[in-house]
Amino acid sequence: MRSQQWNGEFRNQILSLLRDRNKRESQGFTELFHHHEKLFENWAAIKAENLRLSVQVERGYSHHHHSSSSYSDEREKVLEQKILSLQEELTELHRRRSENASHVLSLTAKLTDKEAELAAAQTQLATSVAKCADHEDQISFLQSKINELEATNQLLRDEHQALHLAYTALEEKHHRLLGENKELVQRYMEIKAQHADFMNQENENFVKKRQAKVQKELEDAAKDSKASVILPENDNENAGLRSDISLLSTLNVGCVVPTIASHKFDSHENEVNAVRWSPNCKNFATGGTDRKVKLWETNGNEAELKAILTGCNGGILSVEFDSTGSLLLCTSSDFACRVWTVDDHRLRVYFTEIRVIHLLYFHSTYAFIQPTN
């Protein structure tokens, strides 16, 4: 048996005691109290009703009493009441007047306030207007400046465009000239080649002629010797003779590299760039980097300085005689060509702005010049 399953005798005993108590203490009284409360409420309501009715009765009675009083009395009362109400009205009006006066005062104060405000606002407005005008001036000034700048800009642009156009035109011209130049050079080369061929042929012809002349002379000579001198039929002697003849012939015809200088002299202060024989085979010209062209005459053993041709502003690159030997042309590194007459040593013709490297051919009436690039 668990000790805390409380269902012992004491529990029932207590429960019944509690029930008895409740019965004793509250059963009868609950109803009684409830009833009493109800009665009390009723009583209060009736009391209030009674009071109300008695007041009503009293009022009714007094009303009755009033209605029975005399007419004049009533009239007097009415008038009195009227007076009273009028007095009341008067005081009310007085009160209102004073209120209005105070109201007017406050309104005037407000008005002055507002006026001050208005003046302040007006001054503000004036300053603002002035400021505005200032700003407008500035704006117009800036606008005009902008316009000016724009005009300048336009002008510059136009100029630029014109220049550009000129430039392109020039460039085109340049191209055309270059093309022409190329063509001319080509033509020149052709002519030169023809000329060279022609020269070769002439040389050949000359050599042939000479050979033929020599052979003829030799044959003549041989005929003479045969006639006068009996040439031994010795092979050795004949062979030697023949070899001598052939040697002679070769000397006359072929080229020999000179090995011995017949004469030596100082011609220029610096390097010697150009040397050329005159067609008369007596004179020759030299040119050097000392900007001088010198004319010499030789008699086989020594050279005699005949003239110094000055006028060049750069080193002499090449010199050339014309075919008659009366004119001398030279090119120099100052982009110029000059022509002198040989007899009186005077400068005759002068070209500038030509970059000349080499004189190719010179004739009394025309010259070929190889330009740089």
Binding site: S3, Q4, W6, E9, I14, L15, R24
Partner: protein, 314 residues
Amino acid sequence: MSLFTQRPANRKGQKRIRMAEDREVLREIWEARLPVSFQLAQDEVATLNVPEPFYLMVPRLLYFPLVTDKVRKHFIQYVSPEASGREIWLSDGNGQPIKWNYPIGLWFDLFAEGALPWTVTVHFDGYPEDKIMRCSCKDTVRSQFMSYLKEADALKHKGNVMNCMQEKDHNQLWQGFQNDKFDQFWSANKKLMESVVGEGFRHIPIKCYTPEKLAMQRIVKPIDETTGTWTTLHDALLEFFPTIDFSTVRVIIHGVEPPLGTPVQWLSEHMSYPDNFLHLSVLPSTPGFSYFSTPSLSSPSTESGSRVSPNSSS
């Protein structure tokens, strides 16, 4: 009786929690009402006609400030205007001011001598501040009530249950109590009544009252350590009055005299007031009675009234 007071063999590790569940008893106690006739004090009547007494059925478990709103309203038109704004206070038939922090039923049991309806006098004037506390609003009652609950829980469970409760549970306790809602109150209060099977509470929150001396407290354990049996009401009373002669006194709780052999654990679970205290009224059954048969014993006992509630100023 011996069957119930025998302490059971408590097996370790099998601590079942049980709680008060005898709703029949609990309801009888909860629904107790007392008929009270409120009367205005004669010398405070300021009108010509004497006011009617105000009759009201008041719950035994409540405190007076929670029910006297209507009473005050009823009497306020009969007192002088300067007194009408004041706080009212009550006195019983003996002219003794009623302490509002005692449950109504307890005061009735102690001082009314069973006369029904109980006549209570209403006062507006002369609040006896030296005898009873001011009670300006219902929050004062609430804080008083909650502090009693905490004290009781401290005795029963070292205060653990009350501390673990949330504010809303506290609120439920108070609202259930104040508005007379049995289910609302007990759904929260049952946690406070939980105990380990076979062990009971740590201590029983119990207060003992005599007309001469109010709110005595002693440490009462639910189980007698020496014999290992449940402590009975008889044993508990011996803690308060070691030489009491039970033939000369009546022990009253909730207006009834429970058998002296009832275990205090059961009493605490079922017959405690909502503040979780067991309030025992000990009254003489014969006039000229003394609770302590020998004066030599009575003086140390009263002095060593170990814990007396600070409210019992008498």
